[in-house]
Structure formats: structure tokens, C-alpha cells
Amino acid sequence: MVNCYNMTSTSQPIRPTSSAELQKQIRENYVGSRRPIHIRGGGTGASAGYLQDDPSAIVLTTTGLSRVIDYPKDDMTITIEAGLTIAELTGTLVRHRQQLPIDVPVPEQATIGGVVAANISGSRRFGYGTMRDYLIGIIAVDVQGQQFSAGGRVVKNVAGYDLCKLMIGSLGTLAVISQVTLKLKPVSESTGILWATFETLDDIDVVLETLLLSSARPVALDVLNARAAQTIVTGAELKQLPTEQPVLAITVDGLSAEVDWQLESLRKELAVFMPTVCLPIVNDDQRQKLQSAITQFSQQQSAVLALKANLPPSATLDWMAYADEEGLALLSHAGNGIVKGRFPVEPTEYSRAIEILGRLRAKARQYRGNVVVDTCPHTWRQKLPMFGDPEPSWSLMRKIKQQLDPDDLLNRGMFNEFRLPALRNSDGVTS
């Protein structure tokens, strides 16, 4: 998914309404003017808005491809077109008490194609995993307008290379996703959240360590610093929740009895560590608002600079404590070592941003982690290293990009760092 405000183009967006039309339009571009193509789902900008301004680019919107192709609900799979929104998908599934358990911000706008391409995930990835655990089949159109597929419609399948995995998180740089098949999960009967505040992030780290062998089986282990807690609680309109201190928010789900039992066990397990507050949130309305505000956190358009750190879980809170001092609002899916950070106001200057980013990256590197820039002002994009330090595997990624899109037409600039050398290669200049 791509920030739409980045996509300036002189021509009207194209909006195919069938797969045949999609292929035709891309093919015509390829045999004709070979203009760059900016692929746009719901335009929610849930992830990196790395596209460069390019007046010559064609904007291709997938929202016209929004049919449910097949929903054999008793098989617990669904095949849908890429432009279907997450809200529409959820609406269809919930009637049969089924779900795609991926937390997606702005579900009314976000499309499934965008969620796959940007590999969106949220709190429940701890218990349910990410897109790679649900995408079982894919149809996409390459830059020449040729349709290809991988996987299938059955939940277990090892025929052929798993191009589904390759497309997840590829940010539209390899092909235009037109259709996906997903494996589904039943909706749980009940869900509850335990909201516990502690004096310091360090205190929470100790709790997390003991929770590893908890008698409960949380589906989300989120840690918020006070800044993030304030944003989230305001968003959820749950003023009664304290936000002055770092928060550990634990989500459990299952049968009602199971949820009650888990919340009670967790409360006892946490009591040993003397949380300043420990509140169970079981009211469905409040709980849903809170979950949605947490999911929405990474999506605040007001952020000047938004980051995502990926770390081994044991290093998460240490890194958060460090980043907290730099003034970020921080939400972590601590069980997975993923931290989403936003600067509410500062830095407004590039030089300061690069300095801070350098420090945060150095800290992440100590733990074999990394920091990726999610959102930044348009003008910084060209110079700011978005993906961190180059890895040897990037050369393979460049070659894959070069194989599938040698002219670099699809979402040009998205993976800027490993795009440029590849292009030089194709021009015969060594990188």
C-alpha cells in the first residue's frame, strides 16, 4: 500500500475491472511507451510511501477488481480479487464465523492486494502469524502483461516454487497481484485484553520473560510507551485507562470460560511484579475500540517520520527504552520483536532525522536487528537510507527484480536501495 499523495502523475489513473483488462492494459504499456506503473490499492499508505514523483508514471488502481471469486466456507478458504477491501472481506467472513486474523489499519480502504504486498501485520501476529501463514494461492500479472499463478486453492500444497511468499512484502515491485486465495480461521467466541502499567520498560521486560512460560496462551503481547499509550487511549476514547506509564497489553481469546480463566491467571502472574494498574477489558465494545486504536497506531498520517524496528524479542524493550529517550511514541509487538515508532512532532529537519536514525540503527544492530523507515517527508526519500545496512542477500533480491521487471517499471523507487545497482548492471556497468 502506498501513500497516494506521493503519486503525482499527469494522466488519469487506470482502473481495470477484470483480469483480462488488467493484462491488456499492462501489455499495451509494455509493448508501447513502457511508462513506469504505480500500483495503488486502497491508497491507505499503511506502509512505505517510497514512490518517487514521476509525471510519466501511470497510476494503476486495483479497486475495480473486488469480486469474491469462490468462498467454499466448509473448506475454510476464500478466493478473492486483489482490490477487495479488508472491511468487505471481514464482512463476508464474519457471517460464517470465520476470519483472516491479520490486524489491518483503515480496513474500509485497505485492499487485500495491498495488505499482501506490504505484508501488513499487527498485534495478533504473536498468536496467529502473518500473511505468509494464510496466503495459499496467488494470481498476478507481470510487467509484460502476462498472468501467472502459484500455489492453489487447497490448504496444503508443495507443487512448484512458493511464489506466494515472494509476493508477500514485495511492495508491488515484482508484479501486480490480481487474485489471492486465503486459508481462514474460525472467529473465537470471546476476546479479552489485560491492560497493565509499570514504572519502567525494564520492569515489563522482566514480566515478558516470565510470561514465556505463562499458564495462559496470549495471542498478542504489546508494549506501549506512555506517548503511544496516550495516542491509543485517546483514539479508543477510553479515558479511564491510565497512560502515564509504559503499558503491557496482553490479548487472549477462545471460549468465554477460557478467556476468563486466562485473564485471571495472568492477573495473578503479573501481581508478583507489582503493576501500578492491572485492568481486564472484556466489554466487547471497549475491547474492540482498543484493538482498533492499537492497530491504527502505525497509520497516523500526522507522523513526520515513522519507523519499524525488527529485533530478537529479548532486545525489544531495551531498544524501546533507548528510542523512548529520542522522543518517539512506541508500540511493540514484543513477543515478535517488532517495534513501530513515530515522531509526533520532531524531527522536522533532515539532518537531525538522519542523526537519530543512525543512533537507532546502531542500537538495533547490536542485537542483530534493523530499523526500516515507514513514512518520511517526500523530499527526504531520495537520500535517506530506508532499509538499513545492505545484506548479502540483497544481491539475490536485485537479481529477482531484474528477472521479473528488468526495466524497473513496477513501483519504481519502492526498494530504492537495492534497485539502483541492479539497474546499473543491466546497463552493463558493474555495481
Binding site: V155, V158, G160, G169, P312, Y367
Partner: protein, 483 residues
């Protein structure tokens, strides 16, 4: 087969890399490596090597490149699709001496192992820690993590917990150009394309995996293991659809038909009902607060769908015995027939009654005996075709019946392999499953990793290895004879 001169040069170089102790060159030793669990096709390699560390593999790959000799990685050789068949001869790189568990990190829920580590050794190593490695192929007592990665193995408990790829965080790989690269890593969400996910299931055609970083899963707090006894296969398969469509995801849901039950009873004397048409082995796990009600729900569905009887495993020992029976089902088949061919297909779960009907028609049509033991909850069937190796007509019937069953899986919207892979066995099905463009793109991706096609040639894709590389003729193109 390489020339005598080249072979001498190869052996001289390989001796220097792996030592006298790490090389096999005598025909009687090489014969052991002429096939894997897919015995219908055989080819003797020129050399078998047993490296003990990554850098030896790098040196071996470099030597093979220089001398333009094909090579193929091999774990325990339990592949059932001919994944280890050294088509065209060349070098087999056996990874069984690289079996160390390098690191277990419970705080970060991962383990790092060498590729030759046997699946069950990791399970045993973790016992009592509160964590386990979830994918549990029935061959787990022998198969290696490297082989599991290459084939994206499943197992009974992958219904709830996911297959190998869902549990691999990262890999270290020796690429066919001799370089070493780390894909993914112990921190989730490494930036860029998910090359770990792409490598898993690539059946040895992208390079040799030298380290596997796996995710560890919390042990379930409680489980209930049940045996549903059914009059016939149809009732049992309808019941499976009933359970799945009720929105229940059991930890495992396996089916065994009468033929299998008979063999197991003879081997283990568990007390299986010999007159039942089929039994379902069902396990639910989770919190104590939930397992009983989930189990109860399943029992109600089973009863409503014609179960003759429901039994519980009362003790941990009984549960273990049940699982032992299931996992050793293939072994027990030896009691039924000297030779058998295990097929692997997938159908949408609601189509299980249809495919099992078809299998039974096939059995009659080809005058064969076919027994069934399979991962029912995933729709992953394993018909086992029994035959006498000495009877050429029977072999032809086995091949024809297998082919018809797999084609039926495709007709029902499924796939020709759920976990055993394409290997050499199912190459000819690839153009039925995928379009020319699909295959061309897969071949482009293979080129990125394996441009000269020397690494595991003639596997997975119906085109040999690299551009301009002719398909290597196979000596006894087993399954193909029937297509």
C-alpha cells in the same frame, strides 16, 4: 556419468576437501545412494561425500562448478518423490554428518541447527523446556531438518500449527556460485523479499542449506486424543468435513482405513477394532479450560455422522502408543505387501468423500489393493498401492492407478502433492498444474539462484536446469512410463 579422467580429478579434489573418511567411490557403497524412498527409479552417483562443515560444502560446490559436474544435496533419503535421485550421476552431498544443534534460545523462541539434524532429535532435545518444534512428519525419527526445509514437510500436527515454512525464521545457504548467504534471520521481518519462504520447498534446486533457524512453539497445556470408529470410509470422511466446517481446528485429524488398521493391529496389538471400515485419530489441544468442551463438540459431530464408537486415550502412555501406531503405519505395511507405492495428493477437505470413493473404484478397476492412512484434516491423502515388484503388469497398474488418482485430485480443485514434493516423480504433472508462463517465471527464479543448473538438475520443473541445458535423459523414467 562423468568420464574416467574427470572422475579421477574429482576424487582427488574431494579427498583433499573431506578426507578419506568423507568419501565413497566404490560401486557397492554407491549403490545405497541410487534412490531414496521412491524406489521405482534408480541411478548410481559417481561419488558420495560427507562434509562435516559448511566450508567443505563451499569447496565441493566450487569444484563441481569448475569441473561442470552436477551435484545434489541429500539428507536422510526418506523423500518419496525421488528428490534425491542423482539424475545423470555426479556427486551426492550427504549432510548426515552435520547434525549438531547449534543453539537453543528459549527467550527468543528459536533454535539453530545444522541441516543433518534429525527432526526427532530436536524434539527430544527440547523435551521438558516447555517448547517444541512443531512440524512432525511421520518420518521424523529419520528425516533431517535440511530435508524438511527442502520439501516443506508437513505432519499430523501441521493441521493446527502449520507446515515447515511456517516455522522457519532463517537459513544459511551455500549458493550454487559457491557463496554463502544468510536468508531471513532470528529477528522476524527482515527487510526485502522473503527469500526464506521462497527457499523452503525448493527441493534442493536453489543451493544447499547449511543452517536452519527454526521458531519454537509453546507446548500445549493439555490435550485429548480420541479414536473415532466408523463402519465405513464414507462415514469417516463425511465426519471430517463436518468437523472442519463446524469451525473446529483440531491439533491433528488423521484417517486410517481397515487395511492399515489390520496391519497396525498385527504389529502393535493396540486393540484396534478389526471390523471397522475406518478410524479417525483426532487430537485437540489447548488450555485445560477448553479442551474438554472442544473434544465434546467433536464427539457430538462424530456421533451425528455415524461413528460406531468413540474411544479416549486414558493415559499418556496410551496416547503415545496411538501416535506410535500412526507414525509407524508405513512400516507396518510390510506385513501386507513386500512392495508399495505411497501417493501424495490434496483435495479441498469437503471433497474427501469423493476422492476416497474414486480410490476405491480405482482399486477395483486395476485389481490392486490400496490402503489409506493420511492427514485428513488438511485434505492431504496418502493412498498406498500394494504390489509385487516381480510382476510387471502389477507395476503398470500401480503407475496407472496413481496417475488417475492424482488427476482426480486436480479435477477436484486440488494438487498432486501436499508434502512429498515434485521430485522427479511428478515432473510431468507440472504442466497440468501450471501454465507456460507460470513455469517460465519459476524457471527465471531458479536461474537467479542456480544459473548453471548443476545443483539438483531435473527436479521440480520440467525443464532441465539452465537455459540451453538439455534435459538429462533418465535411465528408468519410472512414473513417466505410465503417462
Amino acid at each position: 556419468m562423468v568420464s574416467a579422467e574427470k572422475q579421477r580429478e574429482l576424487i582427488r579434489r574431494f579427498r583433499a576437501i573431506v578426507g578419506e573418511d568423507g568419501i565413497l567411490t566404490q560401486p557397492e557403497d554407491l549403490a545405497v545412494y541410487e534412490c531414496d524412498g521412491y524406489v521405482i527409479e534408480k541411478k548410481t552417483p559417481d561419488v558420495v561425500l560427507f562434509p562435516t562443515e559448511r566450508d567443505q560444502i563451499v569447496a565441493i560446490v566450487q569444484a563441481c562448478r569448475e569441473l561442470e559436474v552436477p551435484y545434489i544435496p541429500r539428507g536422510a533419503g526418506t523423500s518419496l518423490a525421488g528428490g534425491c535421485l542423482p539424475v545423470g550421476g555426479g556427486v551426492v552431498i550427504a549432510l548426515t554428518r552435520m547434525r549438531k544443534i547449534l543453539e537453543v534460545n528459549l527467550r527468543n523462541r528459536y533454535a539453530i541447527v545444522e541441516p543433518g539434524c534429525v527432526n526427532v532429535h530436536l524434539t527430544q532435545h527440547l523435551a521438558g523446556s516447555g517448547f517444541h518444534y512443531a512440524p512432525d512428519p511421520s518420518s521424523q525419527g529419520a528425516c533431517t531438518l535440511g530435508g524438511n526445509v527442502a520439501t516443506n514437510s508437513g505432519g499430523p500436527h501441521t493441521l493446527k500449527y502449520g507446515v515447515t515454512v511456517n516455522h522457519v525464521l532463517g537459513l544459511e545457504v551455500v549458493l550454487p556460485n559457491g557463496s554463502v548467504v544468510e536468508l531471513g534471520g532470528v529477528a522476524e521481518d527482515a527487510p526485502g523479499y522473503d527469500l526464506t519462504g521462497l527457499f523452503v520447498g525448493s527441493e534442493g534446486t536453489f543451493g544447499i542449506c547449511t543452517k536452519v533457524m527454526v521458531r519454537l512453539t509453546r507446548d500445549p497445556a493439555a490435550c485429548r486424543t480420541m479414536l473415532g470408529v466408523f463402519e465405513n470410509v464414507q462415514d469417516a470422511t463425511h465426519c471430517i468435513s463436518g468437523i472442519i466446517s463446524a469451525g473446529i481446528v483440531p491439533a491433528a485429524l488423521e484417517m486410517m482405513d481397515q487395511g492399515i488398521v489390520e496391519a497396525l493391529e498385527a504389529a502393535f496389538q493396540f486393540g484396534f477394532p478389526l471390523d471397522a471400515g475406518a478410524v479417525l485419530l483426532i487430537e485437540v489441544d489447548g488450555l485445560e479450560a477448553a479442551v474438554d468442551s472442544e473434544a465434546q463438540h467433536i464427539i457430538e459431530i462424530c456421533n451425528a455422522r455415524g461413528a460406531r464408537e468413540m474411544r479416549w486415550a486414558e493415559t499418556a502412555a496410551e496416547r503415545q502408543l496411538l501416535w506410535k501406531c500412526r507414525k509407524q503405519a508405513f512400516g507396518a505395511i510390510g506385513r501386507l505387501s513386500s512392495s508399495f507405492c505411497t501417493q501424495d495428493g490434496v483435495v479441498p477437505r469437503t471433497k474427501l468423500p469423493e476422492i476416497l470413493n474414486f480410490i476405491s473404484e480405482c482399486e477395483k478397476r486395476h485389481q490392486l489393493r490400496i490402503v489409506n492412512v493420511f492427514h485428513a484434516g488438511d485434505g492431504n491423502i496418502h493412498p498406498i498401492l500394494l504390489f509385487d515388484e516381480r510382476d510387471e503388469t502389477q507395476i503398470q497398474h500401480v503407475l496407472a492407478a496413481s496417475h488417475e488418482i492424482l488427476q482426480k485430485c486436480l479435477d477436484l480443485g486440488g494438487s498432486v502433492t501436499g508434502e512429498h514434493g515434485i521430485g522427479v516423480e511428478k515432473l510431468d504433472f507440472m504442466p497440468r498444474l501450471f501454465s507456460e508462463t507460470d513455469l517460465a517465471i519459476m524457471s527465471d527464479i531458479r536461474k537467479v539462484f542456480n544459473p548453471d543448473g548443476l545443483c539438483s538438475p531435473n527436479k521440480m520443473l520440467p525443464t532441465a536446469g539452465a537455459c540451453g541445458m538439455e534435459e538429462i535423459p533418465r535411465d528408468h523414467p519410472g512414473r513417466r512410463a505410465a503417462l
